[in-house]
């Protein structure tokens, strides 16, 4: 069995070389672009500094190019370049992810390289605003995993059960040199003033997880579990255990749109000071009326630390009213008004404890 597998891989690599030397067939190039702006009603900024009381285009503006090519019948290469505002305020283009995919059988693909982290429903295409209803996927849930892509391999195993498709996706890998936002509570220990936006490197190793999804023509239900060990040498965080699980579902049925997700993360030792134990959920409902999709989202982020844990729990909830308008096929205009309520005495996802905050956002999403 092993021998056959290696022979197959060797043969494929040879074929791939041949293919590249002569012609790569079926190259597809696609792109996406989001231009957006947000403004909050408060002088207290969001903890990442991206949403303030002056109109800010930064966080909501990004562009990407995806290139994919079939090398032969069984192999393909896909890569995505992403241009976005990094924490240093410069617009950078980076190689966001890219992998080689090999079809072992009709129903099983193996992918290796830098793969998108399948944590939540829209994680696979989180930069592509056109693909989902909101301007920003609910932060109470989506900010809980700062890693968006991992270096490693996964297997996509598909089973058809009548009109329903089952996807089982185990994955393994590492994510080195990831940016972690240093919590406000940790800043004094680094000799930094409150209100500073500071990112530090951390590594996630021995990562193993699984993503399982059931989908049919109008709904998807998914669940995922992952464990890893995180280290940040600058802070004496060394191989601390992390576990993360999430469930979610979405629906697109007779003009009714629904999304709902829940997550829980548990982080041990000193790493807990940077990533406290948390859980959170959101629910979105929308109703499509021709080109309009009005929608409403309620989201909640909850502290899940016990008294001995070093981290500070952040709690907030938010209510968002949004409207998406289709500007023809391939472009959409979105508007949102969000009211965020940090739990009394905590700072939620802001710089410091504050009263309720309104955030107004507008964005245009295009694919090409």
């Amino acid at each position: 069995m092993n021998k056959r597998f290696y022979l197959a891989v060797a043969a494929t690599l040879l074929l791939a070389r041949g293919g590249l030397a002569f012609a790569v067939e079926n190259i597809e190039i696609n792109g996406f672009l989001t231009v957006g702006a947000a403004r909050s009603s408060s002088s207290t900024d969001s903890q990442n500094g991206n949403i303030t009381d002056s109109v800010n285009f930064d966080q909501n503006t990004r562009a990407g190019i995806q290139v994919s090519a079939d090398i032969n019948d069984r192999m393909s290469v896909t890569a995505q370049l992403l241009g976005t505002n990094r924490e240093d305020d410069n617009f950078d283009a980076t190689f966001d992810w890219g992998y080689i995919s090999y079809a072992m059988t009709e129903n099983m693909d193996i992918r290796g390289g830098k793969i998108k982290f399948p944590t939540f429903l829209v994680s696979d295409y989180i930069e592509v605003g056109y693909a989902y209803p909101w301007i920003r996927p609910p932060a109470e849930v989506y900010s809980s995993n700062p890693i968006t892509a991992i270096s490693g391999a996964d297997v996509l195993f598909r089973v058809q059960l009548g009109a329903t498709d089952l996807l089982v996706q185990p994955y393994f890998g590492v994510a080195n040199d990831q940016d972690a936002l240093v919590p406000q509570e940790v800043l004094p220990a680094l000799g930094l003033n409150p209100g500073t936006v500071k990112y530090e490197n951390f590594d996630a190793k021995d990562m193993a997880g699984i993503n399982v999804a059931l989908s049919n023509s109008f709904a998807t239900v998914r669940a995922g579990y992952l464990q890893t060990k995180v280290s940040a040498s600058a802070f004496g965080v060394n191989n601390e255990d992390v576990s993360f699980w999430s469930v979610g579902a979405n629906l697109d049925w007779n003009n009714i749109i629904g999304y709902g997700e829940y997550f829980q993360r548990d982080i041990d030792g000193m790493a807990n000071a940077f990533f406290p134990n948390q859980k959170g959920w959101y629910g979105t409902l929308g109703y499509r009326i021709n080109r309009f999709l009005p929608h409403i989202t309620y989201a909640q982020l909850l502290d899940d630390n016990s008294n001995n844990d070093p981290g500070t729990g952040l709690e907030q909830d938010s209510l968002t009213l949004g409207l998406r308008y289709e500007l023809g096929a391939g472009a959409a205009l979105k508007m949102e008004a969000e009211r965020v309520k940090p739990k009394s005495g905590t700072r939620g996802l802001f710089m410091e404890p504050t009263g309720d905050i309104n955030i107004y956002s507008v964005a245009v999403d295009v694919i090409f």
Binding site: F32, Y99, K116, D124, Y130, A163, S217, G328, A329, I367
Partner: protein, 140 residues
Amino acid sequence: MKKIIISFIVLAGLLSAGTHAELAVIVAPSTNIDSINIEQLQRLYLNRANRFPNGVRLLPVDQKTGSPQQLEFARKALGKSATELSKYWSRRMFSGKGHPPRQYKDDSAVMQQVAGSENLIGYVDTASVDDSVKIILQIP
């Protein structure tokens, strides 16, 4: 006012009835398939399968975005509007899970492609069909 609105609705109905042609789903005469149902067709066209249940490999061929045939096919066979279809493909495409079918400029280009390969499936206006291809489903 009411009368005007009603006559507009009737007029719109007549106009749209006029442009709604019957579509024929076609394969090459030598392809080992004689009929297909809507669900199988959807699976192929939405990239949720690339084989017919009897094992025959079938790649879908599309008409140009915005053409009457394509809009009609999206609505009747796939149950999606043009914008819903475009959102569907954005999710598949940018997550690396497949591409929309290749598009050809008109009925004769689609028929020429399909007639030339046992592994392609396409759709055209029924009125355009000649004996270079085989009809496996009609969508009224």
